[in-house]
């Protein structure tokens, strides 16, 4: 059975801290791994990763994929209160049909 596991489930940090969120997966015919940020409403896209070892970066956020060990990390440096959100990891897989499998998410709270 395809599965995506995120850790930790929740995290509380102070502004300025650096956090690392983890996503491991076991899927049939991996296609890509995606990170989303969900505040009050719709999840918004952060990164798509398809190749091992190539870091994607956007401001204070960065992510990397390890296809051998089947995991990805999302790093946030110099955290701000606006980073408080649920971070979702999804894997696109082809197990007969293409679909996205989501993890349960990591709830991050950044305190001022």
């Amino acid at each position: 059975e395809d599965k995506v596991v995120q850790s930790p489930l929740s995290l509380v940090v102070h502004e300025g801290d650096t956090v690392t969120l983890n996503c491991s997966y076991e899927v049939t015919n991996f296609r890509s791994l995606l990170w989303y940020k969900q505040e009050k409403k719709a999840p918004t896209f952060l990164f798509m990763l398809t190749s091992s070892g190539i870091e994607k970066k956007s401001g204070r956020l960065s992510s990397i994929l390890d296809k051998k060990e089947l995991f990805s990390i999302l790093n946030i440096t110099a955290t701000q209160t606006g980073d408080s959100a649920i971070y979702l990891c999804a894997v696109e897989a082809n197990s007969g049909t293409y679909k996205y499998i989501f993890g349960t998410g990591t709830r991050l709270k950044v305190l001022a």
Binding site: R31, Y36, K41, T44, F45, E92, K99, I101, F102
Partner: protein
């Protein structure tokens, strides 16, 4: 910017009612998806569609059906609502396989 619009942000219905959740996207996307999001369980795929009049079951289709008569519109139907269908429902679309999904703001459905 892609816009995915869900017809209601909040909805309260009674057990046994037939419930329609509507989703419209404005970017001519091929693929559309319905998820439900529950605490501790993440996003779970109910149904998806890769073309007009085409539908495929996701991981938890029981108690639900869908309709895609036009490319831009994907409807989720609860045939006979039950209390265990109380949840946040998220609609998403993507332009093709291998592309990120764009999400609507969600419908928080309560079945009394």
């Amino acid at each position: 910017d892609v816009k995915v619009t869900q017809s209601s942000r909040y909805l309260v219905k009674r057990t046994g009612e037939k419930v329609f959740l509507e989703c419209v996207q404005d970017m001519d996307h091929e693929n559309m998806f319905w998820y439900r999001q529950d605490p501790g369980l993440g996003l779970r795929l109910i149904y998806f569609s890769y073309d007009v009049k085409m539908k495929e079951k996701g991981d938890i289709p029981e108690g639900y059906s869908v309709s895609r008569e036009k490319k831009e519109r994907f409807s989720l139907i609860l045939e006979s609502a039950s209390t265990n269908q109380t949840s946040m429902y998220l609609c998403a679309s993507s332009s093709s396989r291998g592309k990120s999904q764009h999400f609507g703001d969600g419908t928080r459905l309560s079945i009394l």
